[in-house]
């Protein structure tokens, strides 16, 4: 029973992280319907900047955190400006292949700079953040990840609902031509959505790094696990991303705990195939009806 509850807690916290990683992915998909295959590399980028700031530059944790988030934000802008803007108006297939290429570039760069080793952050979380409750121990990282996940969910929800930029983004997602003709600055919307997505990705990369340690290969494979999450939640639903993340996270920890640890990393993809069979638009995705 205790084992079960411990797995449950772990699953929920990991799930929140997957959900957060997926939120960034959904942001990009919503505004430009691009599947971003470089998302895992953005996660790893955030984690590594934070690592460099904390260990090499020796900055205090808060400053390092702010700097890495800013770095990710700028990175998102730069990616959009350099690589995606020349492709506005080109077929989508080119843009998606471009993100595959970008993923390879970033992975290669990070491997060149930091190598393929496993790094760990120095221990900086206050131990009184952990929760002890009847024999179940929730480590501080998990508490933190859940809090951050909820915070970002609320922030992004408010952003899309009330801020003018958020409303522009939704309008571009809904109908790009109509948004253009109403005077929405579509290019700025794309840039902003990439920047915010990179920021959210970097954030979840840092928290994932605290939990599992930082390794280029591990973090970039999390970026691919985003796909089962978003397909389950619905490709264009931010709340669905969190729910999907929770389900996939729970599934993974329970498979790892009860069935076999090696099956753990494959289960999300098996689920993915079944969702595509049964309910391809996911739990909360928009059902597209098209008559020819």
């Amino acid at each position: 029973m205790e084992f079960f509850v411990q797995l449950l807690v772990n699953g929920i916290s990991i799930g929140f992280l997957y959900g957060m990683a997926a939120m960034g992915f959904v942001m990009i998909f919503k505004s430009s319907s691009v599947l971003n295959f470089a998302h895992g590399e953005l996660l790893a980028f955030g984690a590594f900047i934070f690592l460099t700031m904390v260990t090499w530059a020796g900055l205090p944790v808060y400053a390092a955190f702010l700097i890495s988030l800013t770095g990710c934000f700028i990175m998102g802008f730069v990616i959009e400006r350099l690589f995606l803007r020349p492709l506005i108006g080109e077929p989508l297939i080119y843009v998606i292949m471009l993100t595959v290429g970008l993923a390879a570039i970033f992975k290669g760069l990070m491997l060149l700079i930091w190598g393929g080793n496993l790094y760990i952050y120095p221990d900086f979380l206050p131990p009184n953040l952990s929760i002890e409750w009847g024999g179940i121990n929730i480590p501080p990282v998990y508490v933190l990840s859940t809090m951050i996940g909820l915070l970002f969910l609320v922030l992004l929800g408010l952003f899309f609902k009330y801020s003018s930029q958020g409303i522009y983004m939704r309008s571009v997602a809904d109908n790009q031509t109509a948004a253009l003709s109403l005077g929405v600055h579509v290019r700025r919307v794309f840039a902003l959505s990439w920047a915010i997505a990179a920021l959210v990705a970097g954030m979840s990369g840092i928290v994932l790094g605290i939990i599992n340690g930082i390794n280029v290969h591990d973090l970039s494979s999390v970026g691919l696990k985003v796909f089962p999450v978003v397909i389950l939640g619905g490709l264009d639903s931010i709340g669905g991303a969190i729910i999907g993340g929770l389900i996939i996270g729970l599934l993974e920890t329970f498979t790892g705990g009860y069935l076999s640890p090696s099956l753990r990393d494959v289960v999300p993809y098996i689920v993915l195939v079944f969702i595509l069979l049964i309910r391809p638009y996911g739990l909360f995705g928009l059902v597209e009806i098209e008559r020819v």
Binding site: L92, I96, A103, I105, L112, L272, P280, V292
Partner: protein
């Protein structure tokens, strides 16, 4: 019969003219010369290393042609081509060792098995518009990798399988030169099939789906079946190439068939030129050449004393160069080397009055 060498303009009077492979006899002539050089002179003029590289080029070209039928002609992306290549390799190995299939039968059988495995992942996504196939094949990549490693009784897990030597009609093929004939004969055959598939109603339906799937559906093309067919053909090519590769390497493990390999094939198709069968071969030549150059370069760097401790490895460099090649071609020449070659050719033809 009079040979027609130079057309005096680019005009077409019948639909058949649009479908011809060679517009002039000039092309046919060059192809005949090229093929006879390839089979008559190249294997005797080149050493074992060059023959090895050429064999690898021929095998990867076959797989790249398959992927190009899917990406370039049907407009669907597969991220599982590396895994399907692996399925072909394993299918051939298992058929050869456990069922004792002869070489000539094992190749197409491996292709068919791979096509069927591909369909399993293609069916759920084919029903949907958009790029769901990409996501499904990504899942396929990971599931296949897992199965290849963990289905111990069939694939022998991490120990791998050793294949029997190739024999065609009692003739044993052991050296690189013998394999050269096998791989390049297969390449010529598969290229011929691909070029002709593209010209048939199937190929034209694929192109229609790529260009506008709603219009294609409106004209009565059953999109689901054609997408699935295209995916099946592409998987068949991957499986065929994988089987050849397995025989060539004589022993296989699950290690090489990763997502990285799939990305490598995508890079070949983009760099070579989407929607061009010849382009896939250019892409395969480019990427294989790049791989060999990088290996050579890292060997040199490793031997420089100052860099000995730097722990330089080939993997990140390869990723980096592939990534840059993909991005560079998409932004600056999305139609790839095939288009570059066409421009060069026509500028020669039109010189000095280039318009």
């Amino acid at each position: 019969m009079k040979l027609q060498l130079h057309p005096c303009g680019n005009f077409k009077e019948r639909y058949e003219d649009e479908l011809t492979i060679f517009e002039t006899d000039y092309g046919r002539l060059w192809l005949a010369i090229g093929l006879s050089m390839l089979f008559g002179a190249v294997p005797f003029a080149s050493g074992p290393y060059l023959l090895y590289v050429l064999n690898i080029i021929a095998i990867t070209s076959i797989a790249a042609i398959g992927l190009n039928i899917l990406i370039g002609f049907t407009g669907q992306i597969s991220l599982g081509h590396g895994a399907f290549f692996g399925v072909g390799a394993y299918a051939a190995a298992i058929l050869a060792t456990q069922v004792h299939f002869p070489f000539l039968l094992a190749l197409p059988a491996a292709g068919l098995i791979t096509a069927m495995v591909g369909m399993v992942f293609g069916i759920p996504s084919g029903r949907l518009k958009g790029l769901y196939l990409t996501i499904a094949t990504l899942a396929g990549q990971f599931i296949i990798e897992y199965v290849l490693i963990h289905w111990d009784s069939l694939t022998q897990g991490t120990r791998g399988i050793v294949l029997p030597p190739v024999s065609i009609f009692g003739m044993e093929i052991i050296d690189e030169r013998g394999f050269f004939y096998v791989t390049f004969a297969s390449l010529v055959l598969m290229t011929l099939i691909a070029v002709n598939i593209v010209r048939t109603r199937y190929g034209r339906a694929f192109i229609a789906i790529r260009d506008n799937d709603r219009a294609a559906e409106g004209m009565g093309i059953p999109i689901f079946q054609y997408k699935l067919l295209s995916f099946g053909i592409s998987s068949f090519y991957a499986g065929f190439a994988g089987a050849l590769w397995a025989y060539y390497m004589t022993s296989i493990t699950a290690e090489p068939f990763t997502l990285g390999l799939s990305v490598e094939y995508i890079a070949m198709v983009i760099i070579g030129g989407m929607g061009s069968v010849a382009g896939s071969i250019y892409g395969a030549v480019f990427i294989t050449g790049l791989n060999e150059t990088l290996r050579w370069l890292t060997d040199i760097f490793m031997n420089i004393d100052a860099l000995q401790g730097a722990g330089l490895t080939i993997a990140p460099l390869r990723e980096l160069v592939f990534g840059f090649a993909i991005v560079f071609f998409i932004i600056f020449e999305p139609r790839g080397l095939a288009e570059v070659w066409r421009i060069i050719r026509s500028s020669f033809r039109l010189w000095p009055f280039s318009y």
